[in-house]
């Protein structure tokens, strides 16, 4: 039996759909309008980077920690990054404590895809000793309040945290690695932005609120990079889309991503940055 909070009264769905037919939404937005976005940077000083994103009432906080580790065997000359996402029980009456469920795993993997496909982190710059030691960037995203579209809130928090994160330089001398007390930005070279849309009846709306998510028939997230390229797509939940829906959604995503990117910090300037100082040559 689903929880009462997950059961949407039929009249509510009818109300939402009749408003959509007139081009209106419950909270007064246009169909292609996002809720107000506010991004607070550096909220956690102990993290190498952090950001809290408010998308309407949905709140996501992302923290970046950078650690030394071993590279993956098939990419010995590259650093690595791992995205983890969790929906905290305090975020919604419907979230239970426990390991991330499939929806949280999905958010983590879609956010990861956006960063990986767009090459947002230049992993080659994070290689310290090929095959032995690299920097591993951990991004943990936590949803603090669920009012719809945790995907975009989490994706934005992630990229914002990466953009302002600082990491220490390392010195390598005769195979020995020393962490220096000089701090530089992460090698972030792209700003992928996820744009999530919901299909309700025949209409497609961007940035669905919680109410809209409870009645939506289908969901699609399209992540766009700085050069207007598609770097991730994820059709979500059940339901289906027509080919025309997909074409419309992807065009709309390119437009919206451009707008939303204005709220993000700029790319760090890293032309003269040396993450690994090779000494004693």
């Amino acid at each position: 039996m689903p929880r009462s909070e997950e059961i949407i009264p039929k009249i509510k769905r009818q109300q939402i759909m009749s408003m959509l037919a007139k081009g209106e939404r419950l909270d007064g937005r246009r169909l292609d309008e996002y809720r107000p976005i506010s991004i607070e940077l550096g909220v956690v000083e102990k993290a190498e980077g952090s950001a809290m994103v408010r998308l309407g009432n949905t709140i996501s906080i992302a923290g970046v920690k950078v650690e030394l580790g071993k590279p993956y065997p098939d990419t010995p000359d590259e650093g690595a990054f791992i995205v983890n996402a969790e929906f905290l029980p305090l975020a919604s009456p419907t979230f239970e404590p426990g390991p991330p469920d499939e929806s949280a795993i999905e958010v983590a993997r879609v956010v990861d895809r956006g960063i990986r496909s767009s090459g947002a982190i230049d992993l080659k710059k994070l290689c310290i000793l090929p095959g032995e030691k690299v920097w591993v960037v951990y991004i943990d995203v936590y949803v603090l309040n669920h009012d719809g579209n945790m995907m975009d809130a989490s994706g934005l928090a992630t990229i914002a945290a990466l953009l302002i994160a600082k990491m220490p330089k390392v010195a390598v001398k005769e195979g020995k690695v020393t962490i220096l007390d000089e701090w530089v930005p992460l090698p972030v070279v792209n700003r992928p932005v996820p744009v999530t849309m919901a299909k309700i009846g025949e209409k497609i709306v961007v940035d669905p609120s919680l109410d809209e998510e409870l009645v939506m028939d289908c969901r699609i997230t399209v992540t766009i990079d700085e050069s207007d390229r598609i770097c991730a797509v994820q059709k979500g939940i059940g339901g289906s889309l027509t080919v025309d829906d997909v074409k419309y959604a992807s065009k709309l995503a390119v437009e919206k991503a451009k707008e939303i990117r204005k709220a993000l910090p700029p790319l760090p300037s890293i032309e003269d940055v040396e993450w690994i100082v090779k000494e004693g040559q």
């Binding site: 039996m1 689903p2 098939d74 499939e102 929806s103 795993i105 999905e106 983590a108 993997r109 895809r113 990986r116 496909s117 767009s118 699609i220 990079d225 207007d228 390229r229 598609i230 770097c231 991730a232 797509v233 994820q234 059709k235 979500g236 939940i237 059940g238 339901g239 289906s240 889309l241 027509t242 080919v243 829906d245 997909v246 074409k247 992807s250 065009k251 390119v254």
Partner: protein, 253 residues
Amino acid sequence: MLSQLVRKVERPPRLIDEEGRRADGRKVDELRRIKIEVGVLKNADGSCYLEQGRNKIMAAVYGPRELHPRHLAMPDRAILRCRYHMVPFSVLERKSPAPTRREIELSKVIREALEPAIFLEYFPRTTIDVFIEVIQADGGTRCAGITAAAVALADAGIPMRDLVAAIAVGKVEGQLVLDPMDLEDRYGEADMPVAMMPSLGKITLLQADGLMTLEEFEKALELAMRGIKEIYNKQKEALREKYLAIKREVEVT
């Protein structure tokens, strides 16, 4: 000694040659060879064994059946549960038998790809369980899994709006290719799995990674539609064949 086995998939100098032939000899818009067998597992209510290139997938359906624990049941429809799992020896480097985050995500998106096709409302308070086991993997297993699962659902006699057929499109050396194999997945620039209810024109799975322009994305969709049509025909053929074979054997014309 065994731990030193080299298990790397080497990248050939060219993935597509000057004549437009891929590493396995296919043209860019050619599917891998597909074999579909229906009703291979006698205990399951419906089952399908599918081979697509070097992919080997077993799909089985149990249900509609009683759901335990009862509180998970929905009062007005069946629930659909799906498990996508790869056996440890399905890939070159042994995969741990425990479910990975990838398998959890794929189980979710596959379930969401099949759900819209099933008349769940005909069986309130029950569950329909779909199991997909990847016995050997060579790229495109989620699509092959969906294709097999749809056949297994039909074999089980579960009422559906349509079969669901799935295929992936990749971008390799700048060109769009249909049904990429593992080699092309690894060294390609983009990968886009798509599933659809072909008679109704409804897309039920759509993912992409890598980089594509909007134009490439739209072209990839069109290429996927063509591949899906072919897969759909193979599904229908295999389902009918199960019963036609019996007819041929026993009927005297």
